[in-house]
């Protein structure tokens, strides 16, 4: 899968939102049908460069996420590709009905960029930590749900989203995280990336927990536990083939995500496996609570969503198997 040479020594740290911003500038230069809309969070969701370069295809709607989704639907109804960029807690947090009817039921070409998702937003606290967005989005017909693992994958994901015709939700985060994939790491919507093979247990993760899961797997290997790590960057539609293959191979699936355990990627995997290959699972995430203030890595440690925490969770799951 062409990851960086030394997985323990990433050379660059960047937030996934940066990758999305980069993709928009590059693709925006090539395709004049791409429009970007912001709800007063232009710089922090990294679409400011697009706004500066292509002012005629940028719309600032102010703090109005419902209008944001509706205006984008109108723009897209004319054959444009409209990208709405805001924090996940507000979009889709605040405009779910507009996304449902104006975007998904209309089936127009709108990309919803939800940044600042998950606990890693940190000090802003619970109200700003989107932990429910995947559940909200994956329940809707006609939409693709993406959650890239690092800034480079986020860029590829946004490019793929722009080239795909139809509604897409793309979830990114605020904090800088290691870039561990490379330019040649593949990205295809609907095709999960297996970053580490293993036969004892399969970790399925998305977002910044993918890298943490790789680190956890490396440590577990030293204890003789052979862990596969799957980057489930496309949560809808799930890569049935890969997930079922690894469920068969390992007999134990641990899902890891910065999201509520209810309704997230873990739930999606459980729905899939219960139907096609019932497998013992541990759905790890945030257990039906709100988040809280703290530094990113303090929170990930507390909620066992860093490498050390993931190791513990995997070991417990093996014991219970």
């Amino acid at each position: 899968m062409n990851l960086i040479e030394d997985i323990h020594s990433p050379k660059e740290w960047k937030a996934t939102r940066e990758g999305v911003g980069r993709a928009l500038v590059e693709e925006g230069g090539k395709n004049e049908d791409i429009w970007v809309l912001s709800a007063d969070v232009t710089e922090s969701t990294r679409v400011h460069e697009f706004a500066e370069k292509f002012p005629k295809r940028f719309v600032q709607v102010g703090v109005a996420e419902q209008n944001l989704a509706g205006v984008a639907a109108g723009i897209a109804s004319l054959g444009k590709i409209a990208v709405i960029s805001a924090y996940s807690v507000f979009s889709p947090g605040r405009n779910w009905d507009q996304i449902r009817v104006a975007i998904c039921y209309n089936n127009v070409n709108v990309k919803i960029h939800g940044s600042h998702s998950g606990l890693n937003v940190g000090p802003d606290g619970a109200s700003h930590q989107a932990l429910e967005d995947i559940a909200m989005m994956r329940a809707l017909p006609n939409i693709i749900v993406l959650a890239p693992a690092d800034a480079l994958e986020a860029k590829k994901a946004m490019v793929a989203a722009l080239r795909y015709k139809g509604p897409v939700y793309i979830r990114t985060s605020r904090d800088k995280t290691p870039i561990f994939t490379t330019e040649t790491t593949p990205f295809e919507i609907g095709k999960a990336n297996v970053y580490r093979d293993g036969k004892d247990v399969a970790i399925i993760a998305h977002g910044l927990q993918v890298y943490q899961s790789i680190l956890a797997a490396e440590e577990l290997a030293k204890e003789g536990i052979d862990v596969a790590v799957i980057d489930c960057h496309t949560i809808k539609p799930l890569d049935k083939e890969t997930i079922v293959e690894y469920a068969k191979k390992t007999g134990l699936v641990v899902t890891v995500e910065e999201h509520q355990v209810h309704g997230g990627m873990g739930s999606a995997v459980a729905e899939l496996l219960s139907e096609y290959w019932p497998t013992r699972m541990k759905i790890h995430g945030v257990y039906d609570t709100f988040g809280e203030s703290g530094e990113c890595w303090e929170l990930l440690k507390k909620y066992k969503l860093d490498a050390t925490g993931i190791m513990e969770v995997v070991k417990e799951a093996i014991e219970k198997k």
């Binding site: 429009w35 005629k56 295809r57 719309v59 709607v61 102010g62 109005a64 419902q66 209008n67 989704a69 509706g70 205006v71 984008a72 639907a73 109108g74 723009i75 897209a76 109804s77 004319l78 444009k80 409209a82 009905d97 507009q98 009817v101 104006a102 039921y105 209309n106 089936n107």
Partner: protein, 285 residues
């Protein structure tokens, strides 16, 4: 392109035929929203037979005017207007709300030619209309966007988010039409959630406001023309209508917002509408 009807008497007759079809459709469907749809027949006759530049034989014509319907529940009047202008056969109107029909209970973009947007949940249409109008303005398109709205849906905050954005971008190519019929599901708008002074609200949001009798086809068309002449502001036409207009038992009665007439009352309504049609026929040209 569609050949416009300029004769007011002809437009009145079209409105009457649309009303008759709406009654038949709702009676066949046994559910739906008659009062608003009947009350809007004159406006829809004016829009589809006169105001809008459109081509029923080429519904995707890129240069067409866009009519965004925000209050989706009045869709029977839109469906009837589409059928009467030739988008699809009139017979199909009686499939409204039935399994497998292209005439969904609330409009669905993609199911039926001529439908610009899916709607149902209120308060969303003006945002979509602002989106199309921004693109048209920046790309210097000649076509206009019209947005049909109800008065009750102005309770939704999103309408005012969109109103602010339209004014920010000086969308002179956007005409919103508010069906000021004073009723909503729970009763009269001024009791449920007072909207007045409505014209002043829009004016303070930077809009050009025109008040008009929504049953006076000539004056409504004039208002649409006037809106085209205002370049620096979006225009809202507050069209004062009588819910259920021309059907005696339905006029002004809030309970007719959301129920089907039933066979007997449908028959009575059609008789009244036929008498009205005869009366229009006797009018001077």
């Amino acid at each position: 392109m569609f050949k416009k009807i300029n004769n007011i008497k002809q437009l009145k007759l079209k409105a009457n035929e649309i009303r008759q079809d709406v009654v038949r459709m709702l009676n066949a469907a046994k559910s739906g929203h008659p009062a608003g749809a009947i009350g809007l027949a004159d406006i829809f006759s004016a829009l589809f037979f006169n105001v809008l530049y459109h081509d029923p034989k080429n519904p995707e014509w890129p240069e067409r005017d866009r009519l965004i319907l925000s209050n989706g529940h009045v869709c029977p009047v839109l469906y009837a207007a589409l059928a009467h202008t030739g988008y699809f056969p009139r017979e199909e109107l009686l499939t409204l709300r039935k399994l497998g029909s292209r005439l969904q209970g609330h409009p669905h973009r993609g199911s039926l030619p001529g439908i610009e947007n899916s709607s149902g949940p209120l308060g969303q249409g003006l945002s979509i209309a602002v989106g199309t109008a921004i693109v048209a303005k920046r790309e210097k398109k000649k076509w206009r966007t019209y947005c049909m709205m109800s008065d009750g849906e102005l309770d939704e905050g999103q309408c005012w988010e969109a109103a602010m954005l339209a004014s920010k971008h000086k969308l002179g190519n956007l005409t919103a039409i508010v069906d000021r019929n004073n009723i909503q599901i729970d009763g009269y708008t001024e009791e449920v959630m007072p909207l007045e002074p409505l014209a002043e609200k829009f004016r303070s949001f930077g809009w050009n406001v025109i008040n008009v009798d929504g049953h006076n086809i000539k004056k409504f068309i004039d208002a649409c023309e006037e809106s085209k002449a205002v370049f620096e502001k979006p225009t809202v036409i507050i069209a004062h209508t009588v819910p259920g207009k021309t059907i005696s038992f339905m006029e002004f009665v809030a309970e007719w917002h959301g129920k089907s007439p039933g066979d007997e009352l449908a028959k009575k309504a059609l008789e009244e509408l036929e008498r009205e049609r005869q009366r229009i026929l006797e009018e001077d040209e």
